[in-house]
């Protein structure tokens, strides 16, 4: 998609759009030709109003802010159902509406082809439904839409045609009506997948982690308020919720990145809230951070040093004052082999791995620390189906050995597939609790409204 929108120059081949041939696209040419892109991470000026953001993205921003430009914007809003107040400031809008602003920007510029990159990653199931209604309407009005997603259900739900890319190649392309989910999944991975996700063993009785009334101490993100739960041996506790409802604060408190403002954390019979990340790892709590690029890895550093980054608290790699470089290299090679990170050695730089392999490495590193409790935050975000299956299997295996997992994930399907119990986080509080096998609609509604149905 970076090639289509002109961010990256193709090494060979050409792009044909609307009868014209382009050897290489530029973002300017793409916009002029009528290609619009909605990025996964929005590119909006938060202090500006909706209308001003739309104007900024248009070819002639002065014209866009005149009465006639504004009435054109209102017409587009009415025709497409992208309901949003043009005078509202973007910073006051929830994520779902910000996405509408991005789409409006593209349409206002006269785009006839929309490329949407993982548009549903940040939406509740209800918001996703609304988005799809808008997209169907746009399709009816003659707009072409390319939807990039790793959620198979969605792809089949809304698309007319489905194309599967694997390692840069097109491996499947056919009308959506003619394929099954399983066929697409196996095309994405290149082999048949386990059908029903990992088999979860029954949890034991021993309580590994007891969280009592923890709250945030402050900070600029959504705080958590008075959260309590227990985690038993062999259990995966899923924490569902729309992004921005306190997941980051909760993960940071559980992992020891920030101290809680109040409450207690018992790991076994030990109070761990005064401990930092390092102390908790020594006590048996390991942490898979939510953003592998900025939180879990040093991109410019080789893998053996990244191994050290996650494991230094255990002291296994120190020889007096010096580092045991040979030992580190060996452990890194073992992790690379065991987790199937192809084409890497201990000297490979973290940034030259694909996202999936980066995540495999982080999971290998944190599981290799021999933890009893794992706190995993969005452990499969942005990964392909094969890597997702792999990470899920490792987490399930961990439970099979008597460990336990707190799975904090904004991907509802992941939480449903992998959890023994589900807590729904809404505005920093636990809004509802569901057992395994809960209906997707019920959990989704609790995510959106904060009320158990």
């Amino acid at each position: 998609m970076n090639v289509a929108f002109g961010f990256v120059r193709p090494d060979s081949g050409e792009i044909v759009f609307d009868g014209r041939r382009y050897a290489a696209m530029t973002p300017q040419a793409a916009m002029a030709a009528g290609i619009g892109m909605v990025h996964q991470h929005f590119k909006l000026v938060e202090e500006f109003t909706v209308a001003e953001n739309v104007a900024l993205g248009s070819a002639d921003y002065r014209e866009a802010l005149t009465p006639s430009g504004q009435s054109r914007l209102r017409t587009i809003i009415r025709d497409t159902g992208l309901e949003v107040d043009p005078r509202a400031r973007v910073e006051d809008l929830p994520v779902g509406l910000r996405q509408r602003v991005e789409i409006l920007k593209a349409l206002f510029r006269g785009s006839r082809l929309l490329i949407l990159d993982e548009p549903t990653a940040v939406l509740t199931p209800q918001e996703t439904e609304e988005l799809f209604r808008v997209l169907r309407r746009l399709r009816g009005q003659g707009t072409g839409i390319i939807l990039i997603t790793h959620k198979l259900g969605e792809a089949l739900d809304i698309s007319d045609r489905v194309t599967v890319l694997r390692q840069g190649r097109c491996v499947l392309s056919c009308p959506a009506a003619e394929v099954q989910q399983a066929r697409i999944a196996s095309a994405m991975v290149g082999r048949d997948l386990l059908t029903a996700g990992p088999v979860l063993p029954e949890p034991g009785d021993e309580v590994l982690l007891e969280v009592r009334n923890i709250s945030s101490a402050g900070g600029d993100q959504q705080p958590v308020l008075d959260i309590s739960f227990t985690l038993r041996a062999g259990e995966i506790l899923g924490i569902a919720g729309v992004e921005g409802n306190g997941q980051t604060a909760l993960a940071d408190i559980l992992a020891g990145v920030t101290p809680p403002g109040g409450g207690s954390l018992m790991l076994g019979d030990r109070e761990i809230s005064p401990l930092g990340v390092d102390g908790r790892l020594r006590e048996g709590l390991s942490h898979i951070p939510g953003d592998r690029q900025t939180q879990a890895l040093l991109l410019e550093f080789p893998l053996w040093e990244n191994m050290l980054l996650g494991r230094w608290p255990l002291g296994e790699f120190s020889r007096g004052p010096l580092l045991d470089v040979g030992g580190l290299a060996e452990v890194t090679r073992e992790a690379i082999g065991a987790y199937g990170i192809r084409g890497a050695t201990e000297r490979t730089l973290a940034m030259s791995l694909s996202g999936g392999n980066q995540q495999r490495f982080v999971v290998a590193r944190q599981m290799g620390a021999g933890p009893r409790v794992v706190v995993a935050v969005n452990p499969t975000r942005g990964l392909d189906v094969g890597a997702i299956e792999y990470v899920h299997a490792r987490l399930a295996e961990h439970c099979g050995r008597g460990g336990a997992v707190v799975l904090i994930s904004t991907d509802l399907d992941e939480v449903l597939a992998l959890s023994h119990r589900i807590l729904v986080l809404y505005r920093g509080r636990v809004a509802a609790e569901y057992p395994r096998g809960a209906r997707r609609e019920d959990v989704g509604l609790a995510m959106a409204t904060g009320r158990a149905s």
Partner: protein
């Protein structure tokens, strides 16, 4: 492999481009470039004397440059090497009457310790201001340079004025504090070997100890370091302390090996040139050593050029400036490339 070769070519390009630039400027000034360059080269590389001059000029640059490299690796922008150099030298001169009582074998190490502590203290101030008060160290370290320089100026006009009370400089330090000459009659002194050893120690610290790794991790990504439980504040303190101590040692070595007295303008900007040496050397101890050698050679050659061809030394500082700018440019481009990879990673599906 390609990257390594490219890097090597880039490193070699600097001195060559620098020489060409010097030749061009001399030509503009209406003098003979051939004569000037000949003096520049023979004054820095031609024979034992010239090489010794290059080495003793490189010596404070290397020590202070290592300090700058440690700080920058940790993401701490210590621009205060100049002030820390003055502080190291000042402490040795102030305590010289006491240190002089020690036997020579103990006096020199004791003086080094005093200088390292003094430089470290002068770096402690901005570390304190940053971690406790949120003051940008870029600003505070520059400001503290002026204070240190003025403090030394006041001292040599006042309490530390030489015994006869006529001239604004300190008494000569006791003979037991003077670093032995290695190759008389050249001025090559023991401090040069000390600086090279320091480079080796800094390499081991940065790349083979846990503390050094943690410091680099904090510099590369404070967020990742925090998520790995590395105390980021402690790394700032440590980096600043090590950085200041090395700069303090640079001052002591210059005092004990070359000048033997303390005076106003004791350092002709070694602390700033050290930043250039650190950046030019890619913040790597071996690179800093090579860059210090290059910059030392330029300074030694510049003196010869002025003596023999009547060409102002200012030209060399101009060339240093150009080198610093192009290094900064390269560093910015590298950062941009890394950022691009990060972005691509984020967009990967």
């Amino acid at each position: 492999m390609n990257g390594r070769l490219g890097q090597l070519a880039g490193t070699l390009a600097f001195p060559l481009a620098g020489l060409a630039l010097i030749a061009g400027i001399i030509l503009l000034g209406g003098k003979s470039p051939a004569l000037g360059l000949a003096a520049l080269v023979s004054g820095s590389l031609g024979g034992a004397f010239a090489l010794a001059e290059t080495a003793i000029r490189a010596c404070p640059l290397l020590l202070a440059g290592l300090g700058v490299a440690v700080a920058f690796r940790a993401g701490v922008w210590n621009i205060g090497a100049e002030g820390q150099i003055y502080f190291g030298a000042l402490a040795v001169v102030a305590l010289a009457p006491v240190l002089g009582l020690l036997p020579a074998a103990a006096a020199v190490p004791a003086a080094f310790l005093v200088a390292a502590a003094a430089g470290g203290f002068w770096a402690w101030v901005p570390a304190f201001l940053r971690t406790r008060r949120g003051v940008q160290e870029v600003i505070s370290t520059i400001m503290l340079n002026f204070i240190a320089i003025q403090l030394v100026s006041w001292c040599v006009h006042g309490p530390l004025k030489e015994s006869s009370g006529q001239f604004p400089y300190s008494d000569e330090i006791p003979a037991s504090l003077m670093l032995p000459r290695l190759l008389p009659p050249t001025r090559l002194h023991l401090g040069v070997l000390f600086a090279v050893a320091a480079a080796a120690v800094v390499w081991v610290f940065l790349f083979r100890t846990l503390r050094g790794f943690q410091l680099r991790a904090v510099g590369a990504s404070p967020e990742a370091a925090a998520h790995a439980g590395i105390p980021t504040e402690r790394s700032v303190w440590e980096a600043m302390a090590v950085s200041g101590a090395l700069a303090g040692l640079a001052g002591a070595v210059q005092l004990m090996g070359v000048s033997h007295i303390l005076f106003e303008k004791f350092s002709p900007g070694y602390g700033y040139t050290a930043i250039a040496a650190a950046l030019l050397g890619g913040l790597h101890p071996v690179g800093v050593a090579l860059a210090s050698g290059l910059l030392g050679a330029l300074e030694a050659g510049a003196s010869a050029m002025q003596r023999e061809a009547g060409i102002s030394t200012v030209i060399v500082y101009l060339v240093q400036g150009v080198i610093i700018l192009s290094v900064a440019h390269q560093a910015a481009r590298r950062r941009a490339a890394t950022e691009a990879i990060r972005q691509r990673g984020a967009q990967e599906v």
